[in-house]
Symmetry: C2
Subunit: 608 residues, 2 copies
């Protein structure tokens, strides 16, 4: 590389450091030192290797850059300024109310694909984007910047395994090995060889460099671009706070503005106003999309016994036939979740993520970055493994569809480790989420199809065992709606439930009717958003609500009902799974948990 270019890169890196110091100083907080260590790496990437059209972030041929170390946001924003995407004034709005330049990057900025800040997530999401590139047959690259500390996260190794095995040569991980975590030294310090051995064992091409030498960085990035059949990790030895004596390579300098920014900026050669002309990708690229047809959902005859998980699988295959942008992922249980129906029909659009639920959800997030409509399924219980990714998906404004099978005690003999009993609580608390829990096959099929059009994080809860079909094929079930299954002017209470216990409630209603007690039954298949109007009517007409759910008493359907009617003041009794189940048959489990027909009938009598 000519001396003149090296000087430019060095000057640009200094500017990025200065701007990181300035923006953090203006905010009086932030992570300037974690930004300064990676400044040279990013200066070379932006100048020589990234292909990105900042004027058209929606350009499908753009590369993707993810700051997995989201706390280095001052560096990212300084890069945006150097690339002409934001002004210096905007840069200095960092961390202030109303500014899109948040403490950690979010897609409020059009150049940010996903929110980061919870460490170890950028790489798994990058794997999803890199997988999308294959589907789309486009040559864009995915660049992920990680810190060294976050390599301790298991999710990094789920991603390393998936990327290595899939041979994602379009994925490059750049690790800013600055030796210092938040509290003190990282486990491996500057031993880049320790990381290289690990990534090498997972099938990656590894390069160890001095992360402050532009020539070495340029060589490594070129090498990564030229590597075939394998992802590349660049392990760059750097110094945290590089260039400023107050903080350089010092403990206790994490996550705070510099004490003396004026001196620091002086040490760094003062403010500069360099611009970087980032290469734009070749024009005219269009992502490949699969063919599509008319939607023809499976139909189940009323009275037939079909598991809702089966209906999900068959409906997903139908949705896949109707929409070429639908993809499916599964956590090595597709024969149980029934995603297998889709996998068989559309093998190119199915992703086996093996037993790695964090990567399962992260890949879905990455795929939706590129406009795909992902459905990701595993047992409801095991989605808890990906809770942090689901939480962050909401911050990313990501639209993903999650499907949890084997919900509740009704799975039977397998016992509590396999029972999704906390999933409704987890999914309801996700910002902007939709939570659906069908009770029969036609409803499950209809809701599976409806999810394709939903924004945000949506969740479908399915049941292992067969349940009778009660709705005719072709009925519409709106998100946010409910169905009144039993209602009469004589109703003295209303049972509100969803899923497997709908059938228990109907049986209880029949049993009570035979004894002269009329009750209403509402199928609250949309747990969030909840049909507040229908619940309010029930609350005000009968004044007595009984909620029933195959779920813990906290945070699920019962709480959703209580919340909806809280300002009206009806009496509400909640039936839910209060004890720790063991092994038993499905019927015994429902009885033991006191959410079966007899328990419901008893609860009604007790209430009246």
């Amino acid at each position: 590389m000519p001396e003149r270019d090296l000087q430019y890169l060095s000057d640009l890196a200094a500017q990025l450091r200065v701007d990181s110091v300035r923006s953090s100083a203006a905010a009086k907080s932030g992570h300037p030192t974690s930004s300064m260590s990676a400044a040279d790496l990013m200066a070379v990437l932006f100048t020589c290797h990234l292909h990105y059209d900042f004027a058209r972030p929606e350009n499908p041929a753009n590369d993707h850059l993810i700051f997995s170390k989201g706390h280095a946001s001052p560096l990212l924003y300084s890069l945006y300024k150097a690339a002409g995407a934001i002004t210096d004034e905007e840069l200095l709005s960092f961390r202030k109310q109303g500014s899109p330049l948040e403490g950690h990057p979010t897609p409020r900025l059009p150049w940010v694909d996903v929110a980061t800040g919870s460490l170890g997530q950028g790489l798994p999401v990058g794997v999803g984007i890199a997988l999308a590139a294959r589907l789309e047959r486009l040559p864009y690259r995915v660049w992920v910047l990680c810190g060294d500390g976050e390599l301790a996260e298991g999710s990094i190794w789920e991603a390393a395994e998936h990327a290595g095995d899939a041979g994602l040569a379009n994925l490059t991980l750049i690790v800013d090995v600055n030796r210092l975590g938040q509290r003190g030294p990282t486990r491996h310090g500057w031993d880049t060889g320790a990381y290289a051995r690990r990534f090498g064992a997972f099938g990656w091409h590894t390069i160890e460099i001095d992360g402050h030498d532009p020539g070495q960085i340029d060589f490594a990035l070129s090498d990564a671009r030229n590597t075939r059949r394998r992802p590349t990790v660049i392990l760059a030895k750097t110094r945290k706070g590089e260039g400023v004596l107050e903080v350089e390579n010092r403990e206790g300098a994490h996550g705070k503005a510099l004490k003396d920014p004026v001196t620091a900026i002086g040490e760094l050669g003062g403010p500069r106003d360099l611009t970087v002309d980032v290469h734009r990708p070749e024009p005219g690229a269009e992502p490949y999309r699969f063919g599509a047809g008319a939607l023809s959902l499976p139909e189940y005859a009323v009275g037939e016994r079909v598991a809702t998980r089966t209906a999900y699988g068959e409906a997903l295959a139908a949705v896949g036939a109707a929409r070429g942008d639908v993809v499916a992922l599964d956590g090595e249980v597709a024969d149980s979740t029934k995603t297998e129906e889709f996998a068989t029909a559309f093998p190119e659009r199915f992703f086996e993520m093996y037993i790695a639920e964090q990567q399962l959800v992260a890949a879905a997030i990455g795929l939706q970055v590129r406009g795909w409509i992902p459905y990701a399924a595993t047992f409801a219980a095991f989605l808890t493994r990906a809770h942090d990714f689901i939480r962050m998906a909401a911050v990313s404004r990501a639209s993903i569809r999650l499907v949890g099978s084997h919900a509740g005690v009704s799975i039977g003999e397998d016992g509590p480790s396999q029972m999704g009993l906390e999933d409704l609580a987890m999914m309801r608390a996700v910002h902007g989420s939709t939570v659906l829990y069908p009770c029969d096959a036609n409803q499950a099929a209809a809701l599976t199809a409806a999810m394709a059009g939903l924004d945000g994080v949506s969740y479908l809860r399915t049941t292992r065992g067969e349940t009778p079909v009660i709705y005719p094929p072709g009925e519409h079930f709106s998100v946010g709606g409910s169905r009144v299954l039993r209602q009469s002017p004589a109703d003295r209470a209303t049972v509100v439930t969803a899923g497997v216990t709908v059938h228990e409630a109907l049986a209880a209603a029949d049993e009570l009717a035979a004894q002269g007690v009329a009750i209403g039954v509402i199928d609250l298949y949309s747990v969030k958003p909840v049909d507040a109007a229908a619940l309010a009517e029930a609350a005000t007409t009968t004044g007595n609500l009984i909620t029933v759910e195959d779920h813990r008493p906290e945070g699920g359907l019962g709480d959703a009902v209580l919340d909806a009617v809280s300002e009206l003041g009806p009496r509400v009794v909640k039936l839910a799974v209060r004890d720790l189940p063991g092994s038993a048959t499905p019927g015994q489990q429902l009885a033991n948990a006191r959410i079966d027909r007899h328990a419901i009938a008893e609860a009604v009598k007790r209430l009246l």
Copy 2:
């Protein structure tokens, strides 16, 4: 090994297979094939290497054996039978209602340390037990049996990293590489070298063997016992369903009883009645415990401004001085959570788990298996990373103390990725959990101390910013209690809140009092169990409750209150964080979320 011994081991393994087939056949479900692949491995372990006193499972010198592949429970129970711990009749109660022989092992059986069944958890928990052995200065060993499929879980690699780095030579992982997962072949099939390269890179001693050859197994287990300074992984190539043509090495034979158990048992040589005399450990061993003294909690003057996280840290150090069995763990943020106070005072009892929250919680679970009292802390938001481990801790009847700092929007500028806004929902839905959320430093200190005596999973939610001390030092705060902070006969509504918003509620009460409106204020520091009596009194006297929480509206304090008063029918208005925050100062965040003093006062006026 003499021919006679080899014949015995072979016969014992056949018996274990037969009993796995028999018990699964009796249950009409279960995982016989996943049991059969590991039968030789376990026959040799039990006969030659395990040290365990089945008559005294509480013997502190016993080895620990964890079936991380918990679905191989038929094999585990067949081993218990061979060891004389259970009868054949008990074996055949497998998966039946009331039987402690559940579909997946749980500590209802005295020889089971922790529940498994959610894959990838046994090894990280084993790391915790192996760490305990060092503290206790005891020579017991930890044996973990994993499947090959579960090695895709990131938690396995968090554990591999921790064990390799810590040089846990007392930990041996035995991987039953039977090539077949639930749905189909695993990623690496029988390529034990692929796993060996990975574990080797993480610093483990690796041995690759034929998992059906007793001589090779015995050699490998001896090698593991003799290896110093490194954990050992034995990668054993096996065949799923080994010994029975119906299922041997076949896809589609996962997780179901055999179709033809009679033929299978015949192929395996018929039932046997061998017993295995497991070596008992040397008598007289006692675990080392650290010295202890009197509890002297930190005291904070009323009016002083102290963060509850600071009080947690200082109180934990005091608890550590008072109790030699208290240990602390942190996820590389001890300077933020303030676990650092303990780490400085008791470095031997502090575990830096780095940025690996699953291993953080798993190590706590492992330590409590050995009677230690663990406190594990990280940001509240990042505890979601360990949700599945927390869920399973409840199934394990484990007593662990979790501490989540930086709760809520009140952290300020860092933005939503760092805000614990779903933690109350997650922790409340855990079976048997305790959820505490103090509002001042003396309360935080008292609750930190109280947690040491709690059974089950308990959770303390702390706040980043300083809050005024309102309770004098030395006050007692019972778990399940609450405090009435404002009350008068003229009260027209009661605000129920906890943590940082207690101070907002008090300010709102003052503001309203100045306008002639009296309201009550309850500090509901115990979110679970909740003080139903106090809430019922407020609900019936004022009839109007306003809940306020720095948390999502779903599953948190508001829902806890609604649940407690649901049968009384008061009007309840819930203030919570409904939008997606950005960056802003703590005060702006509370105002934006409409949970500050002004929002509370307005809500009261609107309600009245």
